[in-house]
Subunit: 348 residues, 2 copies
């Protein structure tokens, strides 16, 4: 996939936020600051979803950049909304290495003389509202799109699916992390697909294709491809979350283990003799770096790392088969092939 | 305003939730339960917003019930979303006298063997997601409305304003409750308007009018009327929150005082000699019933109760002037006049 970032998306997002900040200023400095935080939160991303929308749209013959940019912005804002509300759920205070909205507003409260309880409430309020505002704007970008009713309806259906399935996945993720249950690979894969692959890969590709006027078979093929590649990316993320270099991944290599996150790694480990020892420490919030190291050794030795890598590879293989079977222009096929390749390499 | 509840709205909401529950079931029992909780949360309301949408629409000559029902449903779901996310912000566990979504899901976690920390996370996750789902559906109801592009755009602008201004008001409310600041009546009124009057009164009336094809002057007059009446209702609520009968209001008559909520009552009290004694206890989470009783006496004696009632009356008077000046069919004028009367009586 092209590394050249589409500046139209960044420009469009800047315009959305500039307009909102001016409007917000009428309601006081705190509200303007909330929109500033929201813009910052949105600015740090890699714009993967806009790139997928653009790739499908231009790759299938679309030519109207202003139109596709609004769809791309919609998916980017949806992503921003989900990240922000994810942080509320996880009570996180850091996102992409910097204080997130909740942390910024908690700090703002302290600057105004508030104590701990009030500061936490400011932070949580700001994060809940910022997510709602980003989510609303995501809907608005597509709802006001100047296309015919059928095409807009199809795009709204895709957006609806993105929200509906992601919520299912987020709920499943929290539920499975929280209760003493043996992880199962089918459930792990379903959660990865629902929580991330659908809204981040499937839906942006499908939306770009619909907007370009692609036929149903092509839209469906891109959707399936996106879902498979998306799952491969998420398996790779889970591997990196335990075995990756914290300097590269930006998060502690012990945090998934401390959380007791159910992954392709733990699901495989649960089928081996190593499970009693691993499960005894998994999800221990006090897990220190030494114990985390021992768990990594155990996960490697029981074959979990290899199994997770194989699973990622299998998804990439299936994704490639979708590409091969679909009727796609060569340039788009090549671009999506590179994306699949990238997913496979990430898992290694 | 008519007390006859429009069953089309209830039927429409039932259909929305029935469809969602079936879809959700594919993602497991927890997700289906989330939609059930969301439906319960939505079912308990008085349907004020749908009634206002309908009143404006039919009162201005609209005839398409299926169309107006979808707009009415949109505002009801918006309200549901805001209530749910309000509870997240306030960490409330009770809504309309019953366990709210967070409490229901925390209980569900305990039933699955989870401890306190995990149960709280389930509850918070469910509430954040349920609010997002209701908000998304509110957008979808209007985005997919079968009207011409101009009318849909105008409705989407109203919805956008409802979300944008409510978020400003919610943030202002939390900010002003949390920091040691002397309440001011202008700020209190602005917060009431932004947090509730705009999305609950102004926007539903404006949307009904736009959908009926009313001219701009009529839409604007109804919007102003709604905003004024809405503020009067909220002042009345603040009075009832301190002086009302808990058996009628459904909440403790001490909770606003414990929270330190800034109201028309406290804003007036802050201009009197009684303020040092009142402000010393306001916002004390440990405030007992005896101390709350003494604060009520102090608020009454310093003239704050009378001042708040006068303020509500003034808003009702201004609202009536809007009605008088607008070109409205007699039946609609009469219905909205009754609404204004109701607001005035509530404050007494």
């Amino acid at each position: 996939m092209t590394d050249v970032l589409d500046s139209a998306v960044d420009d469009g997002l800047r315009a959305v936020f500039a307009d909102a900040r001016v409007r917000a200023g009428q309601y006081g400095a705190h509200y303007a600051a909330l929109w500033e935080s929201l813009e910052q939160q949105s600015a740090g991303g890699k714009r993967i979803r806009p790139q997928l929308v653009n790739a499908a749209y231009f790759g299938l013959g679309g030519t109207d950049r202003s139109l596709v940019t609004r769809v791309a912005i919609s998916f980017e804002l949806l992503h921003t909304a989900f990240l922000i509300h994810d942080d509320v759920i996880d009570r996180d205070t850091v996102r992409r290495g910097a204080p997130n909205i909740a942390a910024q507003f908690a700090g703002r409260a302290r600057d105004h003389g508030a104590g701990d309880r009030v500061s936490a409430t400011w932070g949580e309020t700001a994060a809940v509202l910022a997510g709602d505002l980003a989510l609303s704007r995501a809907h608005r970008e597509i709802a006001t799109l100047a296309v015919d009713d059928d095409r807009r309806a199809a795009l709204l259906d895709i957006l609806d699916r993105a929200v509906f399935v992601s919520a299912a996945g987020e709920l499943a993720d929290v539920v499975h992390a929280g209760i003493p249950e043996t992880p199962r690979v089918d459930r792990v894969l379903a959660t990865l697909e629902q929580k991330t692959a659908v809204y981040s890969f499937e839906c942006p590709l499908a939306a770009g294709a619909v907007l370009a006027g692609a036929d149903g078979a092509t839209v469906d093929a891109l959707a399936r491809f996106g879902r498979l590649v998306g799952v491969a990316f998420q398996i790779a993320d889970d591997i990196l979350g335990v075995f990756g270099d914290p300097a590269v991944t930006g998060k502690s290599a012990a945090s998934d283990l401390r959380e007791g996150k159910q992954t392709a790694l733990t699901a495989h480990a649960a089928t081996t003799d190593a499970w009693p020892a691993i499960s005894a420490r998994l999800g221990d919030p006090e897990l220190d770096d030494g114990a985390a190291h021992l768990m990594r050794v155990a996960l490697r030795e029981c074959g979990a790392l290899d199994a997770a890598r194989r699973l990622a590879d299998e998804h990439v293989t299936l994704a490639r088969l979708e590409l091969d079977a679909a009727h796609l222009p060569e340039a788009l096929r090549a671009e999506l092939g590179e994306l699949a390749q990238h997913a496979a390499e990430r898992a290694r």
